[in-house]
């Protein structure tokens, strides 16, 4: 008697799972190192030929190589598990970067960031909600775009999708729009920053405030300078820390509009949405402030953070799927793009104003 073959789930042993990400991590390292190699070669060529070539940071090369690979030859399955670790490297890099911030500076700059972030959140959420309504987008998609552009990109969209029970399709529209706009910011922000003669400090704050996804915000700062990257991390981390409040606000509003009750404990909800890596960042910063690390150890931690970011930036390029973004349709993208231009302009004004007041 013939029996139909029932597909069995793939049984993967624990050691296999442990080694599964290694090829992808090696690919991230190879692309990041190639970016570094190109940066150094161009600088050397300019020096030996007495040419004033613009210094294009390895970050941009790594992202470009990643984009080209992902959108031409594609990424074979064997590399995918490792490429997905880029988010882990990003968070590890941010925590290690804490060693380069003293708590006093963090409190001072963090409070400037916090004020700017609160203003940015209010402006971005109101404007994007209004714009979504004007373009006839449904309420859920408008909310997801508003959260994605005001707080922290993909993770905020996913958290809000769960809280307001939006469709997967709306979430993927919003994610695609935010990622596409983040990719555009990588190339346009540094040009604008240089054209306006912005300081590293001001540019970093602007990147952290206006670029939505954390990896792209850090990369945009890094393309400008090392110091700009530091401040981009500070502003973006402050924004990330607000995710719980914003998602809770939307969840309460949605529950009220559907005449249902928000059943979870609010404090627990806020804690569950709080990005815990921010605590690690603060802890390392506190240890550095209490001189737990000497100068060479702080430098070593800073360089470890740079290596973690190198893997992240290669991952940013490799997971940029231009075809998938194009498939998502024009309307959410237009709303996202219009919103981002306005938010970028407003935050630029905020940062330039704050830099005059606080002299940075």
């Amino acid at each position: 008697m013939a029996t139909a073959a029932i597909p069995q789930p793939r049984v993967v042993s624990f050691p296999q799972r442990l080694f599964e990400p290694l090829p992808g991590i090696a690919l991230l390292a190879a692309i990041g190192l190639l970016g570094k190699f190109i940066e150094q070669k161009i600088a050397l060529y300019g020096k030996t030929h007495h040419l004033h070539l613009p210094n294009i940071e390895y970050v941009l090369w790594a992202i470009l190589i990643g984009v080209v690979v992902a959108n031409t030859v594609g990424v074979p399955k064997i590399f995918r598990a490792g490429i997905a670790t880029y988010d882990f490297w990003l968070k590890t890099g941010i925590v290690l970067l804490g060693a380069r911030f003293l708590v006093g500076d963090l409190a001072l700059m963090g409070s400037v960031s916090l004020v700017l972030v609160v203003i940015e959140l209010a402006l971005a959420i109101s404007f994007m909600t209004w714009l979504g309504r004007r373009f006839g987008l449904n309420r859920d998609l408008s909310a997801l775009l508003a959260v994605g552009s005001s707080v922290c990109g993909v993770s905020a969209i996913i958290a809000t999708q769960g809280a307001i029970e939006a469709d997967d399709e709306d979430a993927s529209f919003a994610i695609a729009a935010i990622l596409a706009l983040g990719a555009i910011a990588l190339f346009t922000f540094p040009l604008i920053g240089h054209a306006l003669g912005m300081s590293d400090h001001a540019f970093g704050l602007w990147s952290g405030l206006a670029v939505d996804n954390t990896a792209e915000a850090v990369a945009t700062g890094a393309i400008y300078s090392d110091t700009a990257q530091k401040f981009a991390v500070l502003a973006k981390t402050t924004r990330n820390a607000m995710i719980g409040f914003v998602v809770l606000g939307f969840a309460l509003r949605w529950a009220a509009s559907k005449a249902t009750e928000f059943k979870q404990n609010k404090a627990q909800f806020l804690w569950s949405k709080f990005p815990k890596f921010v605590l690690g960042f603060l802890l390392i910063s506190a240890l550095a402030s209490f001189h737990v690390f000497d100068k060479s150890q702080t430098a070593a931690l800073g360089n470890l953070s740079r290596w973690a970011f190198l893997l992240t930036f290669a991952g940013v390029g490799l997971r940029t799927d231009i075809r998938a973004m194009a498939k998502q349709g024009l309307r959410p993208f237009v709303v996202g793009a219009l919103g981002e231009v306005v938010i970028a302009t407003l935050t630029l004004g905020l940062v330039l104003g704050a830099s005059r007041v606080a002299h940075f």
């Binding site: 882990f88 925590v95 815990k276 890596f277 690690g280 390392i284 070593a300 360089n303």
Partner: protein
């Protein structure tokens, strides 16, 4: 990595924080003295 996280009930954030802290301890103990860049 997702499967590993689920197996040990860890979030990505906590793995990143513990990894960074482990690296900080290694550097502090002098196991790694210099990291080139």
């Amino acid at each position: 990595m997702t499967q590993l996280r689920k197996r040990f009930h860890l979030s990505l954030d906590s793995i990143a924080v513990w990894t960074a802290l482990a690296l900080a301890v290694i550097v502090r103990l002098g196991v790694i003295k210099k990291v080139p860049w």
